[in-house]
């Protein structure tokens, strides 16, 4: 029974809760049991409070029994990436510098999920301060891929991807700065969506690169992702970059897409992301699956054409200037004075020495590398050549998108150039690690919505298909992803993640 519940999607679990066929306590216990069984291997969570989760679930069950009007998410467990601050619940952002810190307030998205009646299972593992593509940069332990525990689950939201793919949570929130929702979703066989920048609140999200960071859903199905996105989206006066516009109807878009009617939809295949002359570093299996998926869309009536976006070739260098620059500034707040770790305060050392020692011991290597790089790129005399130039390149990338969207409704590409790689393979080579973000960076830099949906296996490992749309047209991502999902599920006869359940001994 336990195994059964944890292989269902959240929409079905919600239906059972509403119909009284299952209780939140029963459901929460099923996930906690699964965590107790599997998490030692998977390393998906940094913090789990079983007692608090069960108490919360009991409250929701009691409210339901009392006949209170409850929303569609009430009683459903959820996991949050440890980058979201949660009142009274330990929050580390994957770093030793925040070990043991209990935030005094909730992130807006955490508060919205709480108000919707969800049950917080725990905080998921991540690359330290969301810097990485493998979750090996977690200061605590690496997370592992449920499809093959010797491989990475992607990053930086790798704890969330491992938890959802492994049945340790029905769904989870991640954050995406350069691909940190989409790439882990792709390599673990999940749906992951990065919303339009500004459409989901960043209040209470521990900042990495403020002009890029965006929270979003990671789920087993497109419909689940849409449901979770609708629950967290919308204007927040506490985030000054928040867009004051209604959240588009995403569940409706997913349902419409699942009917497979794509007649008239114009799809652009981005040449620079795995097309002719741009296949270096891409797995052949990934390109095959993506090509087949494009053909599938054509079969459903979509009008497919190739589109060239030459500035995308510069997305990687621009991103690895902008993100470290903003990080070096954002991470200045971790100095051991107001919260978190403090090292060497023995009465003899000055403030500056204590700050430097605290940061030396509190930060891991990738965080330090990015602080040094960002400090360099923002230095007087170098600013124009590096950060300023990168921000101009960002404009070029946005112009390529604008030109492309004059002719097509969505752009598609692989989500990640490769399938999940073996743990350890890229740890000493930052550039190899950065290459994992190649396909996700353009939409990040332009602030556009983009989704990853599973499109098959290569070498027995999941491959993700990315759909990008114009700003605030997140519904198009869900519509096209749902069409892909439904068509592939129908052809396969099972849902994508059922393939993993079938091969894993329960």
């Amino acid at each position: 029974m336990t195994a059964d519940l944890t292989t269902l999607d959240a929409a079905e679990l919600g239906r059972r809760l509403a119909a009284g066929e299952a209780g939140s306590v029963e459901l929460t216990r099923a996930y906690l049991d699964r965590i107790a069984e599997q998490d030692e291997t998977l390393g998906a969570y940094l913090h789990v409070d079983a007692e608090a989760a069960l108490a919360r679930a009991a409250e929701v069950d009691a409210a339901r029994t009392a006949g209170e009007e409850l929303g569609p998410l009430a009683g459903l467990p959820v996991a949050l990436k440890d980058v979201f601050v949660t009142e009274g619940v330990p929050t580390t952002s994957g770093s030793r510098i925040l070990e043991g810190w209990r935030p005094p307030y909730d992130a807006t998205v955490a508060a919205r999920l709480k108000a919707a009646g969800t049950v917080l299972l725990g905080k998921t593992n991540m690359d330290e301060f969301a810097m990485g593509s493998s979750t090996e940069n977690s200061a605590y332990r690496p997370a592992r891929n449920p499809w093959d525990p010797d491989r990475i689950p992607g990053g930086s939201s790798g704890g969330s991807s491992a938890a959802v793919a492994g049945g340790l949570a029905p769904w989870a929130l991640g954050t995406d700065t350069g691909g940190s929702i989409r790439q882990p979703a792709a390599v673990t066989g999940l749906v992951g969506h990065k919303p339009t920048y500004g459409s989901v609140s960043r209040y209470g999200l521990i900042a990495f690169s403020s002009s890029l960071d965006q929270a979003g859903p990671m789920a087993r199905t497109v419909r689940d992702a849409a449901l979770l996105h609708e629950a967290i989206g919308g204007h927040d006066p506490r985030d000054s970059t928040s867009i004051d516009a209604p959240v588009p109807l995403l569940v409706g878009a997913a349902e419409e897409g699942a009917r497979g009617e794509l007649a008239g939809l114009r799809v652009g295949v981005v040449r620079e992301l795995g097309g002719d002359g741009h296949t270096d570093g891409y797995d052949a299996g990934v390109l095959d699956r993506v090509r087949e998926t494009v053909a599938l869309l054509e079969g459903m009536g979509a009008d497919v054409r190739e589109v060239s976006c030459p500035a995308f070739d510069l997305a990687l260098p621009a991103y690895y200037l902008i993100a470290p620059s903003e990080a070096s500034s954002n991470l200045a707040r971790f100095e051991g004075m107001r919260f978190g770790l403090r090292v060497g305060d023995d009465g003899s050392r000055s403030l500056e020495e204590v700050m430097s020692l605290t940061r030396e011991q509190g930060f891991g290597p990738e965080v330090k590398r990015r602080i040094v790089l960002g400090t360099y790129a923002l230095s007087a005399g170098y600013y124009d050549a590096y950060y300023g130039q990168a921000q101009r390149v960002r404009t070029l990338i946005t112009r390529d998108f604008t030109a492309a969207f004059a002719d097509v409704d969505v752009l598609v590409s692989p989500t990640s150039p490769t399938v999940a790689w073996p743990i350890g393979a890229r740890v000493d080579d930052p550039l190899a690690m950065y290459a994992a973000d190649l396909c996700t960076l353009p939409a990040s830099l332009a602030g556009l919505p983009a989704i990853s949906v599973p499109c098959g296996l290569a070498e027995g490992l999941p491959v993700g298909f990315q759909v990008m749309a114009p700003a605030l047209a997140d519904d198009r991502c869900y519509r096209v992803a749902a069409a892909v999902e439904a068509a592939l599920d129908a052809a396969r006869g099972t849902r994508f993640l059922d393939q993993l359940t079938e091969r894993t001994p329960a």
Binding site: P103, S350, E352, I371
Partner: protein
């Protein structure tokens, strides 16, 4: 940085990394200085590609979605409770954060 690095690459030498780390209030171990100089030089070579773009008349993009003059109603709202915030501080004294000495003895 303005002088050629000891490694003779276009990138960052060990001393450059040490200098930048000092600016960022970041102590680094000898091993970190050794490995970062090489790794960051490689990264810097890669990111320097942005220099190839012809952007003479292109404005920098500072934000993904243009928003100007975001304001909120000028209404007083409660701050976080002081005791809750100070309970998470590394050191507190007399309802304040306690910090190490800011000025040296000679000052």
């Amino acid at each position: 940085m303005s002088t050629p690095s000891p490694q003779g690459t276009a990138g960052l030498g060990r001393d450059d990394v040490a200098h930048l780390a000092r600016l960022a209030r970041l102590a680094l171990t000898d091993e970190e200085l050794d490995s970062f100089a090489g790794q960051l030089s490689a990264v810097l070579d890669a990111v320097a590609e942005v220099g190839k773009a012809d952007v003479a008349d292109v404005p920098p993009m500072t934000h993904a979605v243009p928003l100007t003059n975001v304001t909120r109603p000028d209404v007083v709202t409660p701050s976080l409770p002081r005791d809750v915030v100070l309970s998470q501080a590394p050191a507190a004294e007399d309802d304040r954060f306690r910090v190490p000495q800011i000025l040296g003895e000679e000052e």
